[in-house]
Assembly symmetry: C2
Homo-oligomer: 455 residues x 2
């Protein structure tokens, strides 16, 4: 692979990341555990260990063979043949990295590396490798293979951490975070019966991986059993790219609530009903769409509110809709903010109904609680990014991640790297090799800081 | 049936319609053709012939047996067994009324009554008896049976008209005005292959009626071959009821144009895309819905514009819609008004697209030209309503009717009577017996005026 050089938009200086990484790996060849060395310049530490970006990006390319589509996208839905083959490839990489590889009852791949203090619980890090149908090869693999590369970098640098290190490749993230939820003990019995995109139920899928859905109780991690969790992931949004930043310091995974809105008027003949005699549900729906948007924009903060689905009944061009149904979704890191946004939308809906002689009903059908990251992890990620001379900002994760499940039993942090044009869950999903390398280096740096500080 | 008395909202006086009708039938017993006699009071003519409202409403009740649903509605779609049985019932009524009943190749039932001047073309009048699925028993039957009752009233009054009278029961009005369009010679070959709600194609259906789809060319009426056409029909809207009026003087059948609007933004993750980085097609769609409504309301006149159908793609609660499609329908008596409304909507769409960074495409997919009624027919209907002491107003027909097809080859007029709550194409469709009687009397009065004036 060719040398990658790009400019750091924050400082306007060219940074040769690969050479930088190589240098720090070489310099750290003899380093062992101990307080993190800070360079005299204060911005870069030539003595810090670093990942091999070429190797890591090569693995990502290799993994893309499993489930590749003719359009360049990836069909590697959990429990499919492509998923099984991809897992075998990753399992081999884990073994090559010197990890002691096992599988838990739900099918999560676990790779253990001993720490110097056997009394300490493990530091867990990783991600997933399954994809959505017609997805990309970066959502998941970057964090899973990045974790393995971090272990390789530690091996190369001869570093042993205090905590045991545990690399994890979670099962079926895209289809409901099965692996991480099983680890948190929050997988319900009904979850096993759900049919996945593979055609198998979750229970059948677990057996296909060689797991045992009847033994999930045995794998539950309780608070204290894991020192902390760190996950590298693509942003799946365009915030970093638009601001020219390299690293997102994830403040947590947003809470999500969803409602079905039913706007009821009176269905009538579009030809025989004068404009002033209509009770047109479509007009109320249009009002509500605007209200949802206006309320989300009216408050400071990063809350989002979306109307993604809409349908009119009876739904013919020549009938005034008697009913329109639409979805309202609100996300924010703070559940109170979600409630405040909803309350304002509900007030607006009442006004719309009154002014247009309609009925509007709002029924919640989905709730996912917010999972804030641990403030210490945010700071370690920031310090590691600073160390590597990488620009960064704090941001929420608008999408769900395995880290959200892990938050049930351990402090967690996440690192985002840019998604090109913010696109993901699409064959067009792409993240630049240098950003992947940078993200893995921050994962490494933050992990070492966590290892130093956590008990 | 009991005597029906209700108050005339225009004059605030009770009117006993049935007694009124009986009186004028009796008084006209010996009358023959001649200039229309006007009473001294100028408002009512005790010497005018009148229909038997009880008999007419009795027939309507009888006809409702064919295709009756358990919810009180009617399933008598064209070409169904219920339609065939209903037609046999109506054919018998036509014969009983002394009409010479025949069927043309498309299956229209025709009943001829000789006029006194054999050189004159016939005066055509009637409607249809087929229903939409789950429809009512007034949309069509009122005009068809009303026409037969008019003939009975003329028989009873011993009146022979100058023109031959031709009662028509058109085939498959609800499924595309098959009978009247065949008569106008505007039925395309493709129309015969369309599958109707009966399960039969139009061609198969015509054969079921005993018609011959290969001989449709032989039945085409050319301009001049019919003196004029008059149709009594329920309003299918609530204008008359809301204004407390009894008779609508139809100015014509509105033109209709329909467009598909495609609003294109960029589909994106509803969690990871900040509010200010969205190109949300749903917001553009909401703007467009409001624009369609605002433009239709902003001009004087009775034009209507409707968004009846809407769908978002991909249509998930957690995805910002990349595309929303919706239908726009505009109706008015004047095609120029439709164009003006559309031009304003299109201008609005351009502004929406520019302000929200979206693309909006408007593609026309349907056009039905307006069919104005003949001004003389409007005046004859008004005069007949005045004569009978019935309140009335001019109004467009927002719905399509067989009269629209007939307008291709003859001057036409239409008479509307109130629809309860404006409901039709529904089991809830209802028109009061006294309104039906009033409408048939106006049909009779207007027909006699047309007979006097038309050559």
């Amino acid at each position: 692979m060719e040398q990658v050089a790009h400019s750091d938009p924050r400082k306007g200086l060219p940074v040769d990341r690969r050479r930088f990484s190589r240098n720090i790996i070489a310099a750290l060849g003899a380093a062992s555990i101990g307080p993190w060395p800070v360079s005299a310049s204060g911005r870069r530490n030539p003595a810090a260990p670093g990942v091999d970006g070429d190797r890591l990006n090569g693995w990502i390319t290799e993994l893309s063979r499993f489930g590749r589509r003719s359009d360049g996208g990836i069909d590697r839905v959990a429990f499919s043949d492509a998923d099984l083959e991809g897992r075998e490839y990753v399992r081999a990489l884990m073994s090559e990295a010197g990890l002691d590889v096992t599988m838990d009852p739900v099918g999560n791949l676990l790779g253990l590396r001993a720490g110097s203090d056997s009394r300490l619980p493990p530091l867990l890090f990783g991600s997933h490798i399954d994809s959505v149908p017609a997805g990309g090869n970066f959502d998941g693999p970057v964090g899973s293979l990045g974790a393995i590369e971090v272990v390789r970098a530690l091996e190369a640098a001869g570093i042993q951490t205090r905590h045991p290190l545990e690399v994890v490749v979670f099962v079926n993230e895209e289809g409901g975070k099965t692996g991480s939820r099983a680890m948190a003990g929050v997988l319900g019995p009904g979850d096993l019966d759900r049919v996945t995109a593979s055609g198998f139920t979750v229970g059948e899928g677990i057996r296909r991986l060689g797991g045992d859905p009847d033994r999930l109780g045995a794998m539950v991690r309780t608070p204290g059993s894991v020192a902390g969790y760190l996950e590298l992931h693509i942003e799946q949004g365009a915030v970093l790219e638009q601001e020219g930043l390299e690293i997102g310091v994830v403040e947590g995974i947003v809470g999500i609530r969803r409602w079905n809105a039913v706007i009821r008027g009176f269905a009538n003949h579009a030809g025989t009903t004068p404009m002033d005699q209509r009770r047109d549900a479509m007009l109320g729906a249009a009002d509500l769409v605007h209200t949802v948007n206006r309320v989300a924009l009216s408050m400071p903060g990063s809350q989002v509110a979306t109307v993604g689905r809409i349908a009119a009944t009876p739904g013919a061009p020549n009938v005034i809709p008697g009913e329109v149904r639409l979805s309202i979704e609100i996300r924010d890191l703070a559940m109170e903010t979600i409630q405040r946004v909803f309350d304002e939308i509900a007030t607006g809906a009442t006004e719309i109904a009154a002014s247009r002689d309609l009925e509007i009903e709002l029924d919640e059908f989905y709730l996912s609680a917010a999972a804030p990251s641990d403030e210490r992890f945010r700071q370690w990620v920031e310090a590691a990014a600073e160390e590597a001379g990488l620009s960064h900002r704090r941001m929420p994760s608008g999408a769900g991640h395995d880290a959200q499940s892990v938050a049930h039993f351990a402090p967690m942090g996440m690192i985002f790297i840019p998604s090109q044009e913010g696109i993901s869950h699409s064959p067009l999903e792409f993240t630049r090799p240098e950003h992947i390398e940078a993200g893995a280096n921050v994962l490494l740096g933050a992990l070492l800081r966590a290892d130093q500080s956590l008990s």
